[in-house]
Symmetry: C2
């Protein structure tokens, strides 16, 4: 009954609690910022160059698009490319219980379809987004952790089904059609962890988005799959569970009882989550030093010691990263840029920052000590400056963790910071305002122009 249960719940749901709606608005806002921010990354550009000759009727915005020629694509390609862009900086959202990054696959499909369709209200979009995220995260919980352990990238394997259900909701599919959409998405299992560190990692949420959209499009025309796609002996859950016993019934029984989207968190820094406590502490030290002594030369910090959770050492102890991608796996880099600039956004992970003399010198002063008495989101930092100043900083829970969620203002700063690099400062501010209000508009396509770069020759 799992497939039918999920389909019926998705088709029937229209009211969501206020707290759920608010969490979904934040998830969508953060997604839009990340997709614009990732739109001019080389990975995204390669994919756009490869696929633009095959675009169909351009109905759907490529978020952050700079070229007036290719500011839109058909919805399947828009879903794919926006999905790539949203994940490419490792800066998106995290459902901590499953480490799913839920918004990417689902919002990419949803925005592409909503704009193509026209007349979709912000309210309808938010409800559909919630349904997609609940689908993806409940299914993820049902197959966690074996599914992830054997090597599947759980963001995309569950994301395709979430995207299909979300788009199916906008299409107003009936129960039967929705079951078939779930089935059609369930046979498209995308994403292997082996690809982490390559362009293909961000292909995963992109392809999940286009696969989910395709599933909904076919189901809408009566294309059939199985009514037991998820739960059958040889259905999705058993096949992808990786030796574990899927807990489909338990998890689907909690649909509408607990809301997974409310547990969605947002990355404050564009790198692996285990580095975040150290970066948080470094950023705090920067501001403390600056407030004590505004003219202090930060390059004269003498030594920095970090006591960290053992996973930090295991996963991010790259001492001498060579480029932006490698620097995401270096706690030394994150700490160094945090101390020097007081922030660690995409600009601080650019190739030329990674290879700058000042940053290299600071990285070399950072030492790490593994301490298994610490929590994963905890760190101790101690710093000594040439002028005799010593700072001790204990971060009990890093920013962005479940205990210290990003505030609305912090999300806005993150959005504006990363989108400024694409849209310019004014464009970024306008895009941010539009993205915060998308849930309230009558017709979401009216806000999409704010998410594209301006045609050449137009004043900024």
């Amino acid at each position: 009954m799992a497939t039918r249960t999920l389909a019926h719940w998705a088709v029937s749901l229209n009211d969501i609690p206020c707290s759920t709606r608010s969490a979904a608005v934040k998830s969508l806002y953060n997604y839009i910022g990340c997709a614009i921010g990732g739109s001019n990354h080389p990975t995204t550009k390669k994919a756009r160059d490869a696929l633009s000759p095959f675009f169909g009727k351009p109905t759907s915005t490529l978020l952050g698009a700079q070229s007036p020629c290719f500011s839109k694509a058909d919805p399947q390609h828009a879903a794919l490319l926006n999905g790539i862009a949203s994940h490419v900086h490792d800066y998106d959202d995290t459902h901590l219980a499953t480490i799913i990054h839920p918004a990417g696959p689902i919002a990419s499909a949803l925005l592409a379809w909503a704009e193509c369709q026209g007349g979709v209200s912000g309210q309808a979009m938010i409800v559909a987004l919630v349904i997609g995220i609940e689908t993806s995260c409940k299914l993820g919980r049902a197959i966690w952790p074996h599914h992830y352990d054997i090597g599947w990238h759980i963001t995309s394997t569950t994301g395709a089904i979430g995207a299909a259900v979300a788009v199916g909701k906008l299409m107003e599919l009936d129960d039967e059609q929705m079951m078939h959409a779930i089935g059609l998405a369930s046979v498209q299992v995308v994403g292997l962890r082996e690809m982490f560190g390559s362009d293909t990692k961000s292909f995963h949420p992109g392809r999940a988005a286009s696969s989910g959209l395709l599933a909904a499009l076919l189901a809408q025309k009566g294309y059939t799959s199985s009514e037991k796609a998820l739960e059958a002996k040889r259905g999705w859950a058993n096949v992808v569970a990786g030796g574990g016993v899927p807990r489909l019934d338990d998890l689907l029984a909690s649909l509408g009882q607990t809301w997974e989207v409310e547990a969605n968190s947002f990355k404050p820094f564009p790198c692996g989550i285990v580095c975040h406590p150290a970066i948080d502490a470094a950023v705090q030290c920067h501001h403390e030093l600056r407030s004590k002594s505004p003219a202090l030369p930060l390059e004269n910090i003498e030594a920095v010691e970090l006591r960290v959770h053992p996973l930090v050492v295991e996963l991010t102890s790259k001492e001498n990263p060579q480029d932006g991608l490698e620097s995401k796996f270096s706690v030394f880099h994150g700490c160094a840029v945090g101390l020097l600039s007081g922030k660690a956004g995409p600009a601080q992970y650019a190739d030329d920052v990674v290879t700058s003399r000042e940053v290299i010198a600071m990285r070399e002063k950072v030492k790490i000590i593994s301490d298994d008495s610490l929590l994963a989101d905890e760190v101790h930092l101690s710093l000594r400056h040439q002028r005799g100043m010593v700072i001790e900083k204990h971060v009990a829970h890093a920013i962005g963790s479940a205990h210290v969620p990003m505030t609305g203002q912090q999300l806005t700063d993150k959005f504006v910071d990363q989108t400024s690099l694409v849209l310019g400062a004014d464009g970024a501010k306008a895009a941010s305002d539009a993205a915060w209000t998308i849930a309230e508009v009558d017709s979401v396509e009216t806000v999409f122009p704010m998410f594209r770069g301006r045609p050449r020759g137009t004043a900024r």
Copy 2:
């Protein structure tokens, strides 16, 4: 080294043995007939209706297309739709050691890309097809049988990688690009056996085709994946092996030593392969009765007894099928139409034939007896006619099996028979001639017009 080994082999191969080439020509010919034959099936039509609003520049033929408006699509959609059409009648090819239907995913991607690209010779196409089929079937052997047993549809899970490599060969990718194409295809794992009996079964080879093509398009532009995509601890083979231990190295060592395409077989009847011996026997009886007594009323056959392999009873004992799809799982139906009409092609599996009084009456006269001393491709049939005639027929190996491959003439008859229902008799003959010569042309796009229906108002 598996990924690198496969990539290097595919990039380097240019000469293939004569017997391999001949087998590939037959596989391509049979594929084209099946894809044209399946083009007006309701499943294919639903998919075309759903997706035609999103087609890009129409460069690639939809095989068998009747509408002048939609006779072509962009290559990704053409690959998807032709892949669906090629499999929808369950009438395609079978690599018996893995029960992969190899041509569908690979040829669908290859034809779509070759026509879009232009100037591809028939010879280059055949080499690329061989490379794709070897890739798909060697990988299939490496993960057989556990992969299939747990529920994956092995045709499409291996077919996406075969399609990527085949298209990559036409693109003249280098070793690095080819490795990344393999990796990009490997993360798109399509197809669950749970979908057998629904429209989604034939979606699988279609989606494998478009996924493989997409992988090659991205790799061509420098999009990266992993150089150990197939063999890594969390790479493709280990993740999809279903608990078995993949034998990648063994199988890839046999690349170019044994040619899987030479073991490809072709279905003589559009239904599950276990029914084929019984249908073969029934068709032979029809012709024997007709030659003995041309005017004999076949409806006065009194009784038919089949001694069959136990799998026939297990899989195809549906006594009273209600439509064409169900009749594919009825040995009674296959036997009845074989006796009455001397053939069992798509026309004999049409809904109105399945429900006709004459066919129902004949089905009711057929009894089956399970006999575990028989081989899977063996059958004993005994028949008694009202006029006292008795026929005993022992088929030791059914037509289409490894022992009794379809002859060139039988393949032609199959092609013309199924394509006549789409293109008319003259069109079918012309398409058949073109398909037999495709390997020899300088530029394959010159033959594609023969594979489309003629615009309305044109004389047949």
